[in-house]
């Protein structure tokens, strides 16, 4: 962890200018809060020749009401701004909560929501520069009998066993958010569910973002606005720590029964994992001890733990149970 390599820094004021630089400099790297990026450079694992600081582009910043009762959140809006915004807290309290639980105050003051969903995985081997599959090599250092893999995946390992580290990602998937991406001359909309990609699709990236793409922002539709929402993050420490498992649930109830539910779990797979089994199980049912027992049985079905992350399975089950329990008031 040291001084960074030399690079050119660009601070464009418009999307067009940013795109022109990204087109000219083939290895240019977008930087927003820099909280994920600078670590890569200090470790000298990644050494792009140019950085494009997008925080000077006014259109990328801020929170606005959408016409469907939802919200538009610009990519460079900081996590502190998301956590403290009145409209976010009112309509999507679990998004505010997840943002407020990321890392530490200082990181949230500069770290952006765009950077939070676009951040790379935290697999220690990969971050330390081991030439693993994800780094273009031909082995996985985390999936060996003695490897340290307590933070790694339970599902859909495909050569790589790294997980999504983001706290806001499962919330955005649960809220059925849409990511708006500037790709060349076109604006592309991608559902949050499809935005995150696993190693089976492309082992070298975590999202659909390609070189040159700029994430403009996130549209959270009104679908789940004002619903009952639950977010919980289990981590080794209360501050500064990535989730071991986190869970996001939005649900509606009527007459004591659950009428709709959306539940997504983070840090158990390379992408946020939708708990479809739990969703279909609980809709139409009344929350309570019986339902909780069933939820516990299906929540982590199909999990395939590695050597040191078996604890994640009961953790995931218990978090799903606690989310459902929050409906029983």
């Amino acid at each position: 962890m040291d001084v960074m390599h030399n690079f050119e820094l660009y601070q464009p004021g418009s999307i067009a200018d940013a795109q022109a630089i990204l087109a000219d400099v083939k290895d240019a790297w977008i930087i927003a809060g820099g909280k994920d990026s600078l670590d890569w450079f200090k470790e000298r694992v990644k050494q792009p020749s140019a950085l494009v600081d997008i925080t000077g582009i006014a259109e990328l910043h801020g929170i606005a009401a959408g016409d469907d009762g939802g919200l538009w959140i610009g990519a460079t809006t900081t996590l502190t701004e998301v956590a403290e915004d009145g409209a976010v807290r009112d309509k999507f309290p679990m998004l505010a909560k997840a943002a407020s639980l990321v890392a530490s105050p200082q990181i949230r003051h500069l770290g952006t929501i765009g950077g939070n969903v676009s951040q790379d995985t935290r697999c220690l081997y990969y971050r330390d520069g081991f030439p693993c599959y994800r780094a273009g090599g031909n082995t996985c250092y985390a999936n060996t009998p003695t490897a340290m893999n307590r933070e790694h995946t339970l599902y859909e390992a495909s050569r790589c066993v790294a997980v999504t580290p983001s706290d806001t990602a499962p919330v955005l998937v649960a809220l059925e958010a849409v990511m708006l991406i500037q790709r060349g001359g076109a604006k592309v909309e991608v559902a949050a569910d499809d935005f995150f990609i696993g190693p089976d699709i492309d082992i070298t990236r975590m999202t659909v973002l390609q070189r040159g793409d700029i994430l403009l922002g996130i549209r959270v539709p009104g679908t789940w606005a004002g619903s009952h929402q639950y977010f919980e993050k289990a981590a080794d420490r209360a501050s500064w720590d990535f989730p071991l498992v986190n869970i996001a649930m939005a649900a509606r109830t009527e007459g004591g029964k659950i009428t709709a539910a959306s539940m997504v779990c983070g840090a158990v797979q390379c992408t946020p994992r939708r708990l479809s089994d739990v969703e279909s199980l609980i809709v139409g049912e009344a929350p309570g001890a019986d339902l909780e027992g069933l939820v516990k049985r299906v929540a982590a079905r199909g999990a395939r733990p590695l050597t040191f992350n078996q604890f994640k399975k009961p953790l995931m089950e218990n978090l799903a149970v606690r989310a459902v329990r929050s409906l029983a008031v």
């Binding site: 001084v3 030399n6 050119e8 930087i31 820099g34 925080t55 105050p105 200082q106």
Partner: protein, 227 residues
């Protein structure tokens, strides 16, 4: 290369004269060895005189050539720190912690982990706490920066937080103290009567390796009673 930090082959170090000097007996002595000076005084001397210290290429990346692309940022920038505006020559890859410590000589701001994990480098930018070790200086151009040196009154009167930290025996080794002071002052600026839980959250981005957290927390609460 016996400078500060390990030799880094990717950095183009300037050749001899800038980093070594011939001693009275003809031997080469490294300029940076502060023989009879405290580290702090030495650093200040170096910063003020503009002397190039061994390993300064490593610290200051003098290897960066002139901008190849006119659209890239200019190295010269204006930085307002503790109410004073400085014009400084800062390469694009320099962090705010380096600029503050080694160009402006404000060594109250510490560098602990250098990776956004400990809070030793905590400063306020526009009233908000940030880790200066993980913030590019160019990113905070034109912003108001407050370091721990800017907390006490110009006449030397301590801020209530500083006084309360002394009264509550908060610091042990003191390495985390500047960061703790900045976090506590930033909190009281916006929330003069915090609950202990709010204070805990405000300090949650500052690690104390001596584990004096409760003392710092008591300090914040004592200060809140006094402001």
């Amino acid at each position: 290369m016996d400078g500060i930090g390990p030799f880094d082959p990717t950095v183009g170090y300037p050749p001899g004269p800038a980093i070594r000097e011939i001693g009275p007996d003809g031997s080469k002595i490294p300029l940076w060895k502060p023989l009879h000076m405290s580290r702090r005084a030495f650093l200040r001397g170096v910063v003020c005189s503009g002397t190039v210290i061994a390993g300064s290429a490593y610290l200051f990346s003098t290897a960066t050539a002139a901008r190849a692309d006119a659209r890239a940022v200019e190295r010269m920038l204006r930085l307002t720190v503790n109410g004073r505006t400085h014009t400084v020559d800062v390469p694009p890859n320099e962090t705010l912690a380096f600029t503050i410590r080694y160009r402006l000589g404000l060594t109250g701001t510490k560098i602990g982990c250098n990776s956004a994990e400990c809070g030793a480098c905590n400063v306020m930018v526009g009233g908000m706490t940030v880790y200066s070790c993980s913030t590019l200086t160019h990113r905070v151009r034109d912003k108001e920066i407050t370091t721990v040196e800017g907390i006490a009154r110009p006449d030397g009167t301590l801020h209530p937080v500083q006084q309360a930290f002394i009264d509550e025996l908060a610091p042990q080794c003191g390495f985390c103290t500047p960061g703790m002071v900045v976090s506590a002052v930033a909190l009281l600026n916006v929330n003069p009567k915090p609950t202990i839980e709010e204070a805990r959250l405000a300090l949650s981005g500052n690690l104390c390796r001596c584990g004096a957290y409760d003392h710092y927390l008591r300090g914040v609460m004592t200060a809140a009673e006094r402001v």
